[in-house]
C-alpha cells in the first residue's frame, strides 16, 4: 500500500471535529494578514504592542532573556538568540535549514487528530523553532510571543522545541491580541522533544479577548532522565479555549509536571487538561490545576496513564466558584494498565468556606479583603525548579488577572 503523506492525512481530517470542545467554523476567520517586516530588537515594538506583550510575560528589554521570537499575525518580525548553543528561528526557516526536522514534524502530535491540526498543516503561518544543542544550558529563558493584531483573523502556528542530550532550556511564551481585537482564531501546534538528561521548563501565559477562539495542540516526548515542566496561566477572557496537551514518558525516570492556573470571567469557556502517559520504569508525573470561575464555564481534566510497573503519578485539581453563574467540572482520570503502578488524585470544587472568611475577618480584614487573600492563596501554587524571574512573571500575570477582573 502506498504511504499516505502528511499532507494527505491533513486533507482527510480537514472536517474532523475535535474530540472535545465546541466545534468552530473555520471559514468565519480570515486568512489575510499584512506583512509586518522585521525589527532588530523588541524595543522596536510600538507602545501598544509592547504593553500587551508585557502582560503575557514578554521582557521588551530582553535583558533577562537568552533569546526572543516575535510573530505578529503571519510575520515573524524577530528571531534571535544571544547565547551560543541555543537556536531560535521560525519553523519554516528551520525546515529549510535542517532536512532532519521532518523526523520531528507531527511526531508528538498527530496531524489528523482534528480539523485544527489539519488546518495548521495545510495553512501554516510559521511558529517557532527553539533548540538547545547537546549539553547547552540556557542562562536565561527564551521568550516567544504570538501576537494577533488584526480583527477576525486566523493564526495557525507550528512550534518545535528540541532539548538535545544533557541540555537545559527555559521558555516563556506569551500569546495575546491587540487591545482593539475582539475576535479571532488561534491554532498552535507545539511539539517538544526532551532528550536524555535534558530539562525544559515551559511557561505559557495567555491574554486573549472576549471573542477569540483558541485551540492549542501540544505533545511532548521525554526520554531517559529527562524533565519537562509546563506551566499554563490564563486569567483573562476568551470565547472558547480547549486544549489537552499530552506528555509521553518513554525513557526511564522521565519526569513531567503540569501546573495550570485558570480564571474564567462570565462568558468565557475554558476546557483545559493535562495528560501524561508513563511508559517507562521510574517515570513520574505530577499534574496540578487551580481553576476559578467568576461566571465562566471551566472544565478541568487530568489523565494519567500508567503503562508499566514502577511508575508514580499524582493529579490534583481544585476549583473555586465565585459567582452564582459560574461552573467548574473537574474530570480526573487514572488509568492503570498493569499492577505495580502508583497513581492517585484529589479533586475539590466549591465556594470559599464562610468559616475561613470569618476567621480572617476576626484578624481585621474586611469580607472582600479576606476573600481576595484566600483567592490569592488558592492561586499561589508552589512551582519547584523554575527560575526565580519566571516565577515572578507567573505571579505578576496571576495578580494582574485578579486585579483587572475585579474592575470589570
Amino acid at each position: 500500500m502506498p504511504k499516505v503523506t502528511v499532507k494527505e492525512k491533513a486533507k482527510n481530517a480537514e472536517r474532523k471535529p475535535a474530540a472535545i470542545g465546541p466545534d468552530i467554523d473555520l471559514s468565519e476567520y480570515s486568512l489575510q494578514a499584512d506583512d509586518h517586516g522585521e525589527i532588530q530588537k523588541l524595543t522596536g515594538l510600538t507602545d501598544e504592542v509592547r504593553e500587551r506583550a508585557i502582560t503575557v510575560g514578554i521582557d521588551a528589554e530582553e535583558s533577562c532573556r537568552s533569546g526572543s521570537f516575535f510573530q505578529m499575525d503571519h510575520s515573524v518580525i524577530l528571531a534571535a538568540t544571544n547565547q551560543s548553543g541555543l537556536e531560535v528561528m521560525s519553523t519554516t526557516e528551520a525546515l529549510k535549514k535542517y532536512e532532519w526536522l521532518t523526523d520531528y514534524w507531527w511526531k508528538a502530535v498527530q496531524v489528523d487528530a482534528d480539523k485544527y491540526t489539519a488546518r495548521a498543516e495545510l495553512q501554516q503561518h510559521h511558529g517557532y523553532f527553539l533548540r538547545a544543542l547537546p549539553g547547552a544550558k540556557a542562562e536565561f529563558p527564551l521568550q516567544a510571543c504570538l501576537y494577533m493584531g488584526r480583527e477576525g483573523m486566523a493564526q495557525h502556528v507550528h512550534n518545535i522545541i528540541i532539548a538535545e542530550e544533557g541540555s537545559e532550556l527555559h521558555i516563556i511564551t506569551g500569546c495575546t491580541t491587540a487591545q482593539s481585537v475582539k475576535s479571532g482564531l488561534h491554532v498552535g501546534i507545539s511539539e517538544f522533544y526532551i532528550k536524555k538528561n535534558a530539562k525544559v521548563t515551559f511557561t505559557m501565559i495567555h491574554n486573549w479577548a472576549e471573542n477569540v477562539a483558541v485551540r492549542p495542540r501540544t505533545g511532548t516526548i521525554v526520554e531517559e532522565n529527562g524533565v519537562f515542566m509546563s506551566n499554563y496561566i490564563c486569567m483573562r477572557p476568551v470565547k472558547t479555549l480547549q486544549m489537552y496537551p499530552a506528555a509521553y514518558c518513554i525513557g526511564e525516570n522521565a519526569t513531567v509536571r503540569y501546573n495550570t492556573i485558570l480564571s474564567a470571567p462570565e462568558g468565557s469557556k475554558m476546557d483545559v487538561g493535562s495528560k501524561v502517559c508513563l511508559r517507562a520504569k521510574g517515570s513520574r508525573a505530577e499534574v496540578v490545576a487551580r481553576a476559578i470561575s467568576k461566571g465562566g464555564a471551566i472544565v478541568t481534566r487530568g489523565n494519567l496513564i500508567g503503562e508499566v510497573p514502577g511508575i508514580k503519578a499524582h493529579l490534583e485539581c481544585r476549583g473555586l466558584i465565585l459567582s452564582e453563574r459560574g461552573s467548574i467540572l473537574a474530570i480526573p482520570e487514572l488509568d492503570g494498565r498493569v499492577s505495580g503502578v502508583e497513581m492517585s488524585h484529589e479533586a475539590a470544587v466549591g465556594k470559599i468556606a464562610e468559616e475561613e472568611i470569618q476567621y480572617l475577618m476576626a484578624r481585621g480584614l474586611t469580607s472582600d479583603e479576606a476573600t481576595a487573600a484566600i483567592v490569592r492563596g488558592f492561586l499561589d501554587i508552589e512551582i519547584k525548579g523554575l527560575p526565580e524571574h519566571l516565577r515572578r512573571e507567573i505571579k505578576k500575570a496571576v495578580e494582574m488577572g485578579e486585579k483587572e477582573e475585579r474592575i470589570l
Binding site: 470569618q358 475577618m361 476576626a362 484578624r363 481585621g364 487573600a373 484566600i374 492563596g377 488558592f378 499561589d380
Partner: protein
C-alpha cells in the same frame, strides 16, 4: 493618672447584658450577664455544650450566632451591630478553639494581616515571639493546615501577639498542650494581658475558657464565672470554684444558681 482615665476604670471594658443568642434556630445563650474590667483576667468554666464558645463567637460577631436580645457594650458602645472586622479593629481578639485551615494563606501572611490591622508589633518582634513559642519553622506553612492541637494553640497565640487586641478571648488555650508548651502559652497570655505591670496601669483585659484549669497554674485570674445551659450560674474566686468543680463537679454550681 488623669481623671478621664480614672473614670474609665470604673466602667467595664466590656459588659454583656441580658444576652440571648440562637444559632441554627437553637437557643445557646439565655439572658446572660457578665462584665470584665480593664486590667482584669476572667476565667470561664462550664460543662461541654454549656455555651462558652458560643458566647465568645457572639462577642466576636460571627453572624451565625444571632443576638435575639440583650447588649454587648464595649468601651461604652453597643457593638452588637458591628461586623467581625470592625470589632477586630476596635480591639477584640479571639483565640479560636477550632480554627479552620486556610489553604494557601501562610502563617506569616496572616501574621502580617494581624499586624497591619491592629498591632503595634514589628516584624522582628514577631520572629522573636515565634521563637519564644517554638514556632519559627511554621512560618511558611498554610495556616492551621495539618497543625497538631498544641500547634494550633501556639499559632493562635502568635496571631494575638501580632494583632495586639485590648480585649483578648482565649477559648481553651490549654487543651491539648503538653507540659513544656503550656509554660510558653502561660507566658504569652501574661504578656498579652500585661500581667507584668500593676493592674491599674494595664490597658488590656482577658477572658479565658478552661476545663481543667491547667492554665491557672501559669496565669493569675481575678474572677471566675461558671456557665450552665447558656447562662451564668455563679461567679467568684477562680481557685475556689475550680476546687469545687474538681471535687463535686458542676453540682455545686447548679445549687449556687438556685
Amino acid at each position: 493618672m488623669n481623671t478621664s482615665q480614672e473614670k474609665c476604670r470604673d466602667v467595664p471594658l466590656i459588659e454583656i447584658r441580658h444576652l440571648s443568642v440562637s444559632v441554627e434556630g437553637k437557643r445557646v445563650l439565655n439572658d446572660l450577664d457578665l462584665y470584665v474590667m480593664q486590667g482584669e483576667t476572667i476565667v470561664l468554666f462550664g460543662p461541654n455544650g454549656s455555651g462558652k464558645t458560643s458566647l465568645l463567637k457572639t462577642i466576636m460577631g460571627i453572624p451565625q450566632y444571632r443576638v435575639e436580645s440583650g447588649n454587648i457594650i464595649y468601651r461604652g458602645e453597643d457593638i452588637a451591630e458591628r461586623s467581625i472586622d470592625e470589632r477586630a479593629r476596635l480591639g477584640l481578639g479571639l483565640v479560636f478553639q477550632n480554627p479552620p485551615a486556610v489553604r494557601g494563606v501562610r502563617l506569616k501572611d496572616i501574621l502580617r494581616i494581624c499586624m497591619e490591622k491592629g498591632g503595634v508589633f514589628k516584624e522582628e518582634s514577631i520572629i522573636e515571639s515565634a521563637d519564644k513559642l517554638n514556632f519559627v519553622d511554621f512560618m511558611d506553612r498554610d495556616v492551621n493546615l495539618g497543625f497538631s492541637g498544641g500547634e494550633i494553640k501556639r499559632s493562635e497565640l502568635l496571631q494575638m501577639l501580632a494583632q495586639n487586641p485590648a480585649f483578648v478571648m482565649f477559648d481553651e488555650p490549654d487543651s491539648g498542650v503538653d507540659l513544656v508548651n503550656i509554660n510558653l502559652v502561660g507566658k504569652v497570655i501574661n504578656e498579652l494581658l500585661e500581667k507584668g505591670i500593676r493592674e491599674d496601669r494595664r490597658t488590656k483585659a482577658g477572658l479565658i475558657i478552661t476545663h481543667a484549669g491547667h492554665i491557672l497554674d501559669y496565669v493569675n485570674a481575678d474572677r471566675a464565672y461558671v456557665m450552665l445551659n447558656g447562662s451564668v450560674s455563679c461567679s467568684g474566686n477562680p481557685g475556689d470554684i475550680l476546687e469545687d468543680i474538681r471535687t463535686k463537679g458542676y453540682e455545686g454550681c447548679v445549687r449556687c444558681r438556685r
